[in-house]
């Protein structure tokens, strides 16, 4: 607690912006994000917007896995459900802004279906069920949904009031707006009764049941919300790309999502996902630049990072960051 700040109500204690510095940094961050396309080039802005898409997906998995403790390796396939639904709707003349939520809802429906095994299974059994689901969905995309590898997205559907949403600065701002809404909602889910019920189920499902939490419903909700976010990310992907390629939705992409959540910090929905995404996406981009797209180094570096973090830093980069902050706060003393 900084000096001169004290809380009088519970609402103040639980607020997102608790201290003056939070307010200032939030304003500064929003201003920076809003001004970015005018400061940086279109390449950087587009890259950033593309990362935001994956941030939304990572937040979704962080709700399912980090908050509710339900392991899912089918996240990329769920993202595909959203992307293909949105793309298919645009081909049938629906505006992209309506197609994105529709895709998200579709993914949520599929995800809820996938949560059926979670009522009976725990841990690695659930992981295997989600691997099977991921592969079956991927097979469906390969064979029936996009049998020639790509499903085109209708560009004429990306127009609102004569403005092209699918390119340039507007693409960035559309993605930013949707991402901010998603992030704000997720932050609120984490501190709501649903979020607390999820944490209880994660920490000890039997105790949660005894306290009166409906475990089945909570698990289903965790999958539904997480999948909704995956579908939202898929819809945003349809906004970004001219065609949806099923190679975006492989089992490896699912593993990458899980890696983002675990390296960043499972259970810390926003900051954990953000740090994990930054670490993994940035390192992947760098490795691609240096080694000209040979995935070999991606496997080596990413795999070592995952194993290291799970063994040595189970709380992820969040804990590292906390230690760094603490070091500077206490400097020059060690405790």
């Amino acid at each position: 607690m900084p000096a001169g700040v004290f809380k009088e109500t519970y609402l103040q204690q639980m607020a997102h912006l608790r201290y003056p510095i939070h307010v200032y940094s939030a304003i500064a961050a929003l201003a920076l994000l809003a001004a970015l396309p005018f400061m940086a080039g279109p390449f950087i802005a587009n890259k950033l917007a593309f990362y935001m898409v994956y941030l939304v997906a990572a937040i979704g998995l962080n709700i399912t896995t980090g908050l509710a403790g339900q392991i899912s390796l089918a996240h990329a396939a769920l993202m595909g459900a959203g992307a293909y639904t949105a793309a298919w709707l645009t081909l049938h003349g629906i505006n992209i802004l309506a197609a994105i939520p529709a895709g998200a809802l579709m993914a949520a429906a599929v995800g809820t279906l996938l949560s059926l095994p979670s009522f009976r299974l725990k841990g690695y059994y659930l992981a295997m069920a989600s691997i099977a689901a991921q592969e079956i969905l991927f097979y469906t995309y390969q064979r029936w949904v996009a049998s020639d590898q790509y499903m085109p997205v209708n560009d004429d559907a990306k127009v609102l009031l004569g403005l092209e949403l699918g390119e340039g600065k507007l693409l960035y701002y559309t993605t930013l707006a949707l991402t901010l809404i998603a992030v704000w909602t997720a932050a609120n889910i984490g501190r709501s009764s649903i979020g607390r019920a999820m944490k209880a189920v994660r920490d000890n499902d039997i105790s949660a049941e005894i306290v009166g939490i409906n475990v089945t419903r909570t698990k289903a909700l965790a999958f539904a919300i997480g999948s909704f976010y995956a579908g939202l990310a898929g819809g945003l992907l349809a906004l970004h790309l001219t065609a949806i390629d099923y190679d975006n939705f492989t089992l490896e992409q699912s593993i990458d999502f899980l890696a983002m959540v675990l390296v960043g910090g499972a259970g810390r929905i926003i900051w954990g996902s953000l740090l994990g995404l930054a670490a993994i996406m940035a390192s992947q981009s760098m490795l691609e630049m240096v080694f000209e797209g040979n995935p070999m180094y991606k496997y080596l570096v990413l795999g070592a990072a995952i194993a290291y973090f799970v063994v040595k830093e189970p709380e992820g980069l969040i804990a590292v960051l906390r230690r760094v902050k603490e070091y500077f706060r206490l400097w020059p003393y060690s405790y």
């Binding site: 896995t65 403790g69 392991i71 059926l116 095994p117 009976r120 299974l121 725990k122 841990g123 690695y124 059994y125 992981a127 295997m128 069920a129 691997i131 099977a132 689901a133 592969e135 079956i136 097979y139 064979r143 029936w144 039997i206 089992l251 593993i255 899980l258 890696a259 675990l262 040979n294 995935p295 070999m296 180094y297 991606k298 496997y299 080596l300 990413l302 795999g303 070592a304 990072a305 995952i306 194993a307 290291y308 799970v310 063994v311 189970p314």
Partner: protein
């Protein structure tokens, strides 16, 4: 060749693949028995063993026997090292930790396999031989026979080791009840590591079998992920039951493939659906009987 002949040849092919699946799935089961968790690094371990075997047998020209020995050694060493460096520090942590950590190891081993092969994994066969057996509609190539030998051999070796040797009995004791084993003075840590090493060696020999049957390729590990279905079907803590699981999986795949032309519902055709059959079996087993046919049910009591 009539339809019946075709069906017979499909079933034979499925049975051969089933033996290979059983060998591939064995590694999962040995690890599960001792660590109560799935080792998701196993698919990449098989890929690495197969790559090393290919380099020893074909590129260095030492022949299949040397390749097999190399695969066994690599499988054993890498798996034991995985236990020492990743699984042991995670004892007592929730299952998600070991799942995620072994997925990390999966990536690393995949990268190492590519590195060893010089950048990317080649498409290549391990055995070039014109020898074949014919009986009616069925043809067995030299690779098939070698694959059956390797697959059945590794299951037999592991079962014999577990049943007949003192070391195997000690391993089983540690898997069954680590505290009791420790009270009898058994070196629990060492035996756990050896069990993982045995699983890795089984993976190494299974890698030879699968590389003989399906050739070395970048997607070799898909067969191992499919073999998880055999593991589940048999039950994760059985060793001998794995043969049944593997055979059911292999034959089912081929039966589905045989039925594909007849499965047409209007516009939807099911060509190639046998590729997804393994995952359907997995989901079905998990929903209906998660502990498998021969596995012990674990009942949680509060």
């Amino acid at each position: 060749m009539g339809e019946l002949g075709q069906l017979v040849s499909y079933i034979v092919a499925g049975s051969i693949m089933g033996v290979v699946y059983a060998a591939l799935a064995l590694g999962f089961n040995i690890v599960y028995r001792v660590s109560k968790s799935i080792n998701f690094a196993h698919p990449a371990l098989v890929l690495l063993s197969a790559t090393v075997a290919y380099i020893a047998a074909v590129r260095a020209g030492l022949g299949l026997a040397a390749g097999t020995l190399a695969a066994l050694a690599v499988g054993f060493a890498v798996s034991a090292a995985t236990e020492r460096l990743v699984a042991r520090p995670l004892r007592g942590r929730p299952p998600i930790a070991l799942i995620a950590a072994t997925l990390g190891v999966y990536y690393v081993l995949k990268g190492v396999s590519m590195f060893v092969a010089g950048g990317s994994i080649p498409q290549a066969s391990l055995l070039r031989s014109e020898f074949s057996l014919r009986a009616g509609p069925v043809t067995l190539s030299a690779s098939d026979i070698a694959a059956i030998a390797a697959g059945a051999g590794i299951v037999a070796i592991v079962v014999a080791l577990h049943r007949l040797t003192r070391l195997g009995v000690a391993m089983r004791a540690v898997a069954e009840d680590p505290y009791g084993a420790a009270a009898y003075g058994l070196p629990v840590k060492l035996l756990t590591m050896l069990s993982w090493g045995l699983a890795g060696a089984a993976g190494g020999l299974a890698a030879i079998a699968v590389a003989l049957k399906a050739n070395l390729s970048p997607i070799l590990e898909v067969y191992v992920i499919k073999a998880l279905a055999a593991s589940l079907l048999a039950g994760l803590d059985t060793v001998a039951g794995i043969i049944v699981g593997g055979l059911v999986l292999g034959v089912t795949e081929q039966l589905v493939r045989f039925l594909e032309p007849y499965l047409r519902f209007g516009v939807i055709d099911f060509t190639g659906i046998h590729e997804a059959a393994a995952y359907m079996i997995m989901l079905l087993v998990l929903l209906v009987k998660p502990y498998g046919l021969f596995g012990t049910e674990r009942i949680e009591r509060v």
